[in-house]
């Protein structure tokens, strides 16, 4: 069993909120992803059993959404918004410098497994650009020094 008892309890609580079982699949994926970091085939199989669907149905959903991952990830997700308003205020230049600082390209994970870096589409922080999302937290009105400081503090 890859999915823990605690996670299963949380998933059951979600299932009770929806008129159809499958409505809780996205909440369940969030729970499972938080616990395990990504959705491996075994995890997908267990979820398929819980939701009475096929494993391929679970993987379809995982592959469709940006926030679910089928592959192992770094401990922290660092996403820099590079959509239009942010780009107008230098987000892409900032991204390049972050890439250089972390010594990886966007889409890659640092060798120590600390950070997976990525581009992100509009995060609803257009007036506070450039910005990045690290896991559940927004870091807005960034400059390079601030960004570096925040990144270096991540464990």
């Amino acid at each position: 069993m890859v999915i823990s008892e605690d996670a299963r309890t949380a998933i059951d609580a979600e299932i009770r909120k929806y008129p159809q079982r499958r409505g809780a699949l996205l909440p369940a994926l969030h729970i499972v992803q938080k616990e395990l970091g990504h959705v491996a085939p075994e995890t997908a199989r267990e979820l398929a059993e819980i939701f009475e669907i096929k494993p391929v149905d679970v993987m379809e959903v995982v592959s469709f959404y940006n926030m679910f991952y089928a592959e192992p990830q770094g401990r922290h997700h660092v996403h820099v918004c590079t959509n239009l308003p942010c780009s107008l205020r230098g987000a892409r230049g900032l991204m390049r410098k972050i890439e250089a600082h972390l010594e990886i390209d966007a889409g890659e994970t640092t060798k120590d497994g600390r950070i997976t870096l990525g581009h992100e589409e509009c995060l609803g922080a257009c007036a506070y650009a450039p910005m990045m999302r690290i896991d559940e937290t927004y870091h807005e009105n960034l400059d390079l020094e601030e960004a570096k400081r925040i990144l270096d503090e991540l464990e």
């Binding site: 996205l26 994926l29 205020r89």
Partner: protein, 432 residues
């Protein structure tokens, strides 16, 4: 970090600077939930629907459809459970107004939801919050918890005998889940692929039950309309587009931020008076009025009043009121690259025109930007964009085509220069 309040406030956001407004006590102290009580105790569901209709409230999620009309589509006699869905998937680039409404006015949203629930006979509301909005979702959840504890939600809303539940469901990063039926599919635990219409959500919605989907801001207006009446509401804005709207201004301006202003406010007033104009003494080159889906307007057309009836004359629309200002250093081909990449990334992939068209548009723009484009490419761009319109399951393909058409319409010169020079003629433009 919490969001600041809008720079200019109105009836929606006037109390946002007060942290307490996001709490039940704070909201009630400012007259909150009086509207819900009024609706539940003094008005019939039909009364509420009629009120919404006569107020002329247009949906604030981008499509601008009459909220009252939408509510009236819900079947009156149905043994099926009915659901409301609050669309909090705000993902339109340039839009960040729903975020502040959730963070600093969550009870206002719930107030509107309760009124809508009563009007449509809905037993439950699903608030679909985009996955990345962890903080706004948390704020709303706190408000929901307070409501349950105080009997504002649950078996007996405000002691009226009406029962209503609200749950939050988080998205997981897909812009297409902001499309009404894409949202419903995602809510049901599937990929957010929009549904063929008909049937419409009022016949077949969330989990197959009659449903109505409304935007966060739309719900936020509702308690004010119930409290003050349709005439009061029509006192703001224009005849065809009444009420206030929250504009989000970003890009090359002194004061990027949120501005609650009446519908019909002039765009140049928003950009220059409120947002302080372009910094460093530069000039405006173009402004996108309503989120990246809406065609751009050139500097010479900023006198337009921000309401659909006027914007349509200029071949653009209000959308979500996301005003993006671009100054004279901006290369419009790079802008096209950024925008077409976004649509290519976010297409759900069902319809041929959208799936292949968004990819093709992006590839052509990238090639022109690199300096490998030809004049023929401009015709192909326009033609492909034209072939994407009006032919797909949902309006995403249209939304992907319009910005390209707008950029070609007003900034064809930028594209032609790229072709002629074999590289970008705007060395100072934002980095791609």
């Amino acid at each position: 970090m919490g969001l600041q309040a809008p720079y200019v406030t109105g009836y929606l956001t006037e109390h946002f600077a007060d942290d307490a407004y996001a709490t039940l006590d704070g909201y009630k102290a400012r007259g909150g939930y009086r509207a819900a009580e009024k609706a539940l105790r003094e008005m019939s569901p039909d009364d509420v629907v009629e009120l919404m209709k006569s107020s002329g409230l247009q949906g604030r999620g981008g499509a601008g459809f009459s909220a009252g009309m939408k509510w009236s589509f819900m079947p009156k006699d149905s043994d099926k459970p009915k659901y409301l869905v609050c669309n909090a998937d705000e993902s339109e680039p340039g839009s960040f107004k729903d975020r502040i409404l959730l963070e600093r006015g969550p009870h206002q949203v719930l107030d509107g939801i309760l009124i809508g629930a009563w009007a449509t006979g809905s037993e439950k509301t699903f608030v679909y919050v985009r996955g990345e909005y962890a903080e706004p979702a948390a704020c709303l959840q706190r408000a929901i918890d307070e409501c349950y504890a105080a009997g504002v939600l649950g078996e007996n809303v405000l002691g009226s005998g009406f029962a209503h539940d609200v749950i939050i469901t988080r998205g997981a990063g897909a812009y297409i889940c902001g499309e009404e039926t894409g949202l419903l599919e995602s809510l049901e635990g599937k990929k957010g692929q929009p549904r063929k219409k008909p049937p419409f959500p009022a016949q077949y919605g969330a989990f197959g039950m009659p449903s109505t989907v409304n935007n966060v801001e739309t719900f936020s207006h509702v308690p004010h309309i119930v409290e003050n009446g349709a005439d009061w509401f029509r006192g703001f804005g224009t005849e065809k587009s009444p009420g206030n709207v929250i504009f989000g201004v970003s890009g090359h301006v002194m004061r990027p931020g949120l501005y609650e202003l009446p519908m019909g406010t002039r765009l140049d007033e928003i950009v220059f008076e409120h947002a302080g104009g372009v910094p460093d003494g530069r000039k405006v080159k173009g402004v996108i009025p309503g989120g990246v889906s809406m065609p751009i307007l050139p500097a010479g057309q900023l006198d337009v009043r921000m309401a659909n009836e006027f914007l349509r004359e200029r071949k653009t629309m209000l959308g979500t009121g996301g005003v993006m200002v671009m100054d004279e250093t901006t290369c419009m081909v790079r802008t096209a690259c950024v925008i077409t990449y976004f649509f290519r990334d976010e297409s759900c992939g069902q319809c041929t025109q959208c799936r292949e068209g968004t990819g093709w548009l992006n590839k052509i723009c990238n090639r022109i930007e690199r300096g490998a484009g030809t004049l023929e490419d401009l015709d192909v761009l326009a033609d492909v964009a034209g072939k994407m319109e009006g032919q797909t399951i949902c309006a995403f393909a249209d939304a992907a085509a319009w910005p390209v058409q707008g950029l070609l319409r007003h900034f064809r010169g930028d594209f032609e220069e790229h072709v002629r020079l074999g590289k970008c003629p705007f060395p100072e433009s934002f980095e791609l």
